[in-house]
């Protein structure tokens, strides 16, 4: 019963947190660029307005893919925060991403087609680091359960500094931020127009936006896990990471997918793999 209540709470609260974070992002970015910027709740207004717009559907599968994307994204978080297996959560997250890619592939637009291709490349780029993060957490906490990791009282960050840095590196890919807003950027000011989501409109686009809020909350939850020995430090670290993301977004040009891919794998190998190897030898020896 408690778990069901928790799941419902998560499903309602996560998009609110994600949306407010998106609002903070926009206000802060505006301040960094000396603009006035929108009000804090602008992302919510945008999504509400999108729901009122006429939805053009270019393909009958597109709708289903978008729904699957948002459902799996919500489920991922539910698994994660309700003490489920984080490994399962991460695979559900990947599945949610795959549904979005399928949705983009299903349309005929060359923009979303290329966006989907680039998203696949990005997925290949960040997935090893995500897996290494999971493995690292298991090595420290001896469990894949969120609750047990969170309750382990061990400062995971001290064991996994390299993994954490690697995770920070791939975070902009997942948050669709500069320098890795390659497949679909927030501003739609790139050669692919809006890439992945070019052919979604109206309520479907609103759903994808909400899914993105779930994703943001979830990723910050993962950051929290690194600092879970102290909830206050954990929450501060999660928000700090998000602000760092905004700062990086505003100070880097968009990179190309070749560099995104090679650098992400390089960092996963050196920082992530190196960290785990050291941990293994210390624990083993």
């Amino acid at each position: 019963m408690k778990i069901i209540l928790g799941v419902i709470l998560y499903i309602v609260a996560a998009p609110l947190v994600g949306g407010i974070l998106a609002g903070i992002d926009r206000v802060l970015s505006a301040k960094l660029q000396s603009r006035v910027g929108p009000p804090l709740l602008q992302p919510f207004y945008d999504v509400l307005k999108l729901f009122e717009k006429r939805t053009m559907i270019v393909n009958r599968f597109q709708n289903a893919y978008a729904w699957c994307h948002v459902i799996f994204m919500a489920m991922t978080g539910a698994f994660f925060f309700e003490g489920g297996d984080i490994l399962l959560a991460v695979f559900a997250l990947t599945l949610a991403g795959i549904f979005l890619i399928l949705g983009a592939y299903s349309s005929n637009s060359p923009y979303s087609y290329l966006g989907a291709e680039r998203e696949l490349v990005l997925m290949l780029a960040y997935e090893p680091m995500v897996i290494l993060t999971m493995v690292g957490m298991y090595m420290v906490a001896q469990s894949f359960s969120f609750m047990e990791i969170a309750a382990s009282q061990r400062p995971i960050i001290l064991y996994l500094p390299g993994v954490f840095l690697g995770f920070l590196y791939i975070l902009p890919m997942k948050l669709r931020k500069s320098p890795f807003d390659i497949s679909s950027s927030h501003h739609a000011h790139q050669e692919l127009v809006r890439g992945l989501t070019s052919d979604f409109s109206g309520s479907m686009l609103a759903l994808i936006e909400i899914a993105h809020w779930y994703e943001t909350t979830l990723l910050l939850g993962l950051v929290y896990l690194f600092f879970s020995f102290n909830p206050v430090v954990g929450v501060c670290a999660a928000f700090g990471t998000y602000f760092l993301g905004i700062l990086v977004d505003n100070s880097y040009a968009r990179l190309k997918w070749e560099l995104a891919f090679t650098s992400a794998w390089g960092i996963a190998l050196v920082l992530g793999g190196g960290n785990l190897a050291i941990l293994y030898f210390i624990a083993g020896g």
Binding site: P179, H189, E191, A253, W257
Partner: protein, 359 residues
Amino acid sequence: MGKQTIIPFGPQHPVLPEPLHLDLVLEDERIVDAIPSIGYVHRGLELLVSKKEYAEYVYVAERICGICSFMHGLGYCQAVEEIMEIQVPERALFLRTIWAELSRIHSHLMWFGLAADAFGLENLFMLSWRLRESVLDIIEETSGGRVIFGACKIGGVRRDISPETLRDMCQKLEKLKGHMDRLTGVFLNDRSVGYRLKGIGVLTREDAQRLGAVGPLLRASGVDMDMRRLGYAAYERLSFEPVTENDGDCYARCAVRARELYQSIDLIAQAVSMMPDGEVDTKVLGAPKGECFMRLEQPRGEVLYYVRADGTRYIERFRVRTPTFTNIPSMIHCLKGCDFSDVPNVILTIDPCISCIER
């Protein structure tokens, strides 16, 4: 060899808010061909010349383009003055030079912003356009207009600038230099910007000459050609060296424009210090008869005007060959073989101004 995809680029595209259409033929993410087409916003301004009196057409000429507006007016006036053999007062020539250089500064600053937007650095975009705003303020203060100056007329200029305003302007521009250091510093030294610009869209010296490139595009490929050397307006009496770079890539084009910003400020300072006193316009009588070619250096490069008049108050034929039009072959050449993600950078560093093409 991958499957070929055709990506439509423009006339409505967020990166290129200009009515140019490009069909990009892609193999995976590599461009194999680019096919341009234009004509979406053709306004018939060249035809309008036979419907307006020759002195009134200056206003139309200024509206060919919003960015090089003053230069278009200037080119038309100079062509008519050349045909009618009008001696323009010295002071007017210096004022024209100052306005022309202010146009260049504001055009280049705007370009920097668009280029930053093309590689996804919104912060830098805001910075360049904020600096541009201060140049627009100077332009408003001196000419009364922000985009369309309306300052040039046949036989001189429409209004004078007082010595105090000129002094003020020089001080403001000196201050602007400091801000520009920050802007150009990011463009020329930032690692991630360099990654997007260096070695991208290379146009060799030979190709640039063969394909008829002009302006910063040509100078970035190491060719020292600048129409200001023709000595129109007051350029004859000012000392300057055309800015050139040798690499011919997007980075070199940035560097050329960055250095031209400082050059323009320097030219304005020279013009202000040498500014003679006197009238700013002469009376124009009669009507032009004959024909002439007139060339200027716009922010985007060499522009050519052809005016043919038959002795009535209506000019028979007016043609503008804009720099963007003659840079199209180079643009297509640079696009071939580059990555799809480089397309915005390559197109932007040519600095296309399609409204100029669509007279």
